[in-house]
Symmetry: C2
Subunit: 348 residues, 2 copies
C-alpha cells in the first residue's frame, strides 16, 4: 500500500516553515515585505517539498488564467503553424500559455472549441473563422466576453479586430505583373473558393483582368493533383489556350507545377506560372516559381500583440464590443520575381 503522494500545498509549506500562509503567499509572489531570514527559510522548505503553486486556486480567486486560445483550421498547414509559432512566442513573452485547437473549417467544431476554451477561462482568443458571416460563432464569442482577434480572415461587419494580409491588393499585383509581361489569357486556378482569403484574391484577379479588357478565366475546382492535371490538360486542348496561370493557394501552385511538368509543358515558354503564397522550395525548383509572399509570421505576431493589448488595457468593459476598436490591420504582400512568370533570373 503506497501512500498516495499528494502535491504539497501552500499551507503545508507554511506549517513546515512555521509561518502563516500569508507569508508563504508573499514569498511565492515576489517575496516583498518579508524578513530576509523568513524568506530564506520558506524558500528552503519550498525547495525541499518541491512545492508548485496551484494555478487553479489562483484562477478561482479571480486572477487571469494566463492562457490564450488559438483556433485555426489546421496545425499542419505551414501558414497556420507559422502563425502559431509567432503567437506562442508573444504569449510566452507575456508569461502566458497558448492552447491550440484545430477546427478544420468546421463551424460546429469551432463553437465547441470556443466553449471548451471558455470553461477553462482562457483570457482571450485568436481565431481564423471558417465563415466570416456566421452569426452563431459571433454569438458564442460575444458570450465568451473576452477579447477576440480574428486571424487571416475577418468577421465581416463586426467590431472584432482582424489581422489579415491584403489579399485583394496581392492578387491585383500578381495579375498586373502577368499582364505587364504581355500575357493575354491568364487563367486563375484555385480550390476552396468560399474561404475569405481566396475570394478576396479572386476579386483582385477579376478586377484586374477586366480593367485590362482581358478574359476572366476562373477555375475553382482544384482539389488535388488529379483535378489540377485535368484542368491543365483540358485548358491546353482549347482552341485558345491560356498563356499564363495564376494559382491562388499554395497547394494549387504545387499541383499545377507538377501537372505542367508531367505534361512536358515548358514554363514559362508555353505557359507562365505565378502563385499566391511563398514556400520553401519555390526558389529551388526549375524553373523557380514566382509568387506573392505574405508576411505570415507577422500576422500571427500582430494578432497576438493586439490580443494582449486588449488584455492589458485598463479593464473597463469586458465585452468584445467594448474593447474592440474595430481596427482591421491589413498587411502588405510582396511580389517575388523568380523565373516561372517570365522574369529573368534575379541576382543572388
Amino acid at each position: 500500500m503506497v501512500k498516495k503522494r499528494q502535491r504539497p500545498t501552500l499551507s503545508e509549506v507554511a506549517a513546515k516553515a512555521r509561518v502563516g500562509t500569508t507569508t508563504v503567499s508573499r514569498v511565492i509572489n515576489g517575496g516583498h515585505r518579508v524578513d530576509p531570514k523568513t524568506l530564506a527559510r520558506v524558500l528552503r522548505v519550498i525547495e525541499t517539498l518541491g512545492y508548485t503553486p496551484n494555478q487553479a486556486a489562483r484562477i478561482l480567486k479571480g486572477d487571469r488564467t494566463r492562457t490564450i486560445g488559438l483556433l485555426i483550421p489546421s496545425i499542419a498547414d505551414p501558414f497556420f503553424s507559422s502563425c502559431a509559432e509567432a503567437a506562442q512566442a508573444i504569449a510566452r513573452s507575456h508569461d502566458s500559455l497558448l492552447i491550440v485547437t484545430t477546427t478544420h473549417n468546421d463551424p460546429k467544431i469551432e463553437i465547441e472549441s470556443v466553449d471548451v476554451l471558455m470553461r477553462h477561462r482562457s483570457d482571450g482568443l485568436i481565431i481564423a473563422p471558417a465563415d466570416s458571416e456566421s452569426q452563431t460563432l459571433r454569438g458564442a464569442l460575444h458570450r465568451a466576453a473576452v477579447p477576440v482577434v480574428a486571424l487571416d480572415r475577418p468577421f465581416s461587419g463586426s467590431s472584432i479586430p482582424a489581422v489579415v494580409a491584403d489579399n485583394y491588393a496581392g492578387a491585383k499585383m500578381a495579375t498586373q505583373h502577368l499582364i505587364d509581361h504581355g500575357y493575354k489569357r491568364i487563367v486563375c486556378m484555385t480550390g476552396e473558393p468560399n474561404l475569405y482569403t481566396i475570394s478576396e484574391r479572386m476579386r483582385g484577379y477579376r478586377k484586374t483582368v477586366e480593367a485590362a479588357k482581358l478574359p476572366c478565366l476562373l477555375d475553382t475546382s482544384i482539389q488535388d493533383y488529379k483535378s489540377a492535371e485535368h484542368a491543365v490538360e483540358s485548358m491546353l486542348a482549347q482552341p485558345h489556350p491560356p498563356d499564363a496561370i495564376f494559382t491562388l493557394k499554395n497547394s494549387t501552385t504545387i499541383f499545377a507545377f507538377e501537372a505542367l511538368q508531367k505534361l512536358n509543358i515548358p514554363i514559362p515558354a508555353s505557359v507562365a506560372l505565378l502563385g499566391y503564397d511563398d514556400f520553401e522550395l519555390a526558389a529551388a525548383v526549375r524553373p523557380s516559381i514566382s509568387v506573392i509572399q505574405q508576411p505570415i509570421a507577422e500576422i500571427g505576431r500582430i494578432a497576438a500583440e493586439l490580443l494582449f493589448d486588449a488584455l492589458l488595457r485598463p479593464t473597463r468593459g469586458e465585452s468584445v464590443a467594448e474593447h474592440a476598436i474595430g481596427q482591421q490591420i491589413q498587411l502588405e504582400t510582396h511580389l517575388i520575381r523568380r523565373s516561372s512568370c517570365g522574369c529573368p533570373p534575379s541576382a543572388s
Copy 2:
C-alpha cells in the same frame, strides 16, 4: 459607470432556478437523477444566464485539468507541426486540450516550460527533449509527477516511454540502397549532429558503409544554403569526388539539391541524391528526390495515445517511474524510390 458584468456562477443559477446547488451540479454533469421538470427549468436558466462551469473550481476539487502539454522545438517545423496536429486530435477525442510550447532545443526553456505546465496542473506531458541525457530535465519531469511520453527522441536509460522512428534502420536502408546502385563514394551530409535523431542516422550510415568496405565520408557542417554549396563545391573539386550524397535531414536535402542545381551537376548522372525525411515537393522537382519517409503523424498520434493510456490507467502510483513501463516504440521507415538515386521513375 457600467456595472462590471461578472460571469454567472453555479449558485446564481441555483438561486434563479430555485433549487439547490447540488441539483445544478447534477444537471451540468449529465442530468442524471434529476426530475425532468427541474432539469428543464435549470437548463433554461443556464441558457438565459449564459452560464459556463468554471473549470478552475473543478480542478481545485481534484479533477483532472483535461489539459496536456506538448513541448517541441518549433511549431513551424513541418515534422513537429504534423505531430502536434495528430496529438491535438487525440487530445480532443479524450475531451482534452493541447497546450503547445516551443523550446527551440534550449534546455533552460524546456525546464521553464515544464514548470509553467505544472503550475497549470497539466495532466501529462509529451516532450521532444533537446538533450536525451539531461539530468536536470529528468529531475523536473520526475517532480512533475505526471505521466510523460518522449517524442521523436528518447530519454536514454530512462523508464520514460518513447515513440520514435527507427532512425538507425532508416539510415542503413538508405545507405544500402545507394550501395546497391553501385555507388562507391557516398558522402553523408547534415547539420546538428548532436541531436539524437541525427546521430542515430549517422550511426546507421557509418555502419553500412563500413560493412561494405566503403569510405566513411561525413560532413556535419551544413547549416544553411551557403555551407551546403560550399560543401558540394569542395567535395567535387577533390581528386576522387563522391558519386552519391545522403542527406540526413530535410533542410540539408533541399540545400544540397539547390546547390547541385546551381552548379549544374546532373542528378543522378554525376552525383546521386537520397534524403532523410520526405517533403511535399520531393516528387514534384526534377529529378524527383528519393527519400526515407517516416510516419510522422503516427509518431504524434501514438505518443498521445500512450499518454492517455497512462492517464486512464487505475491511478495507483502517480510518479513517472511507476506508471512507465519503459516501452520504447520504434516506428518503421520506408524508402521512397524516385529518380534522384538512380532508380527509374516509378509507376503511377
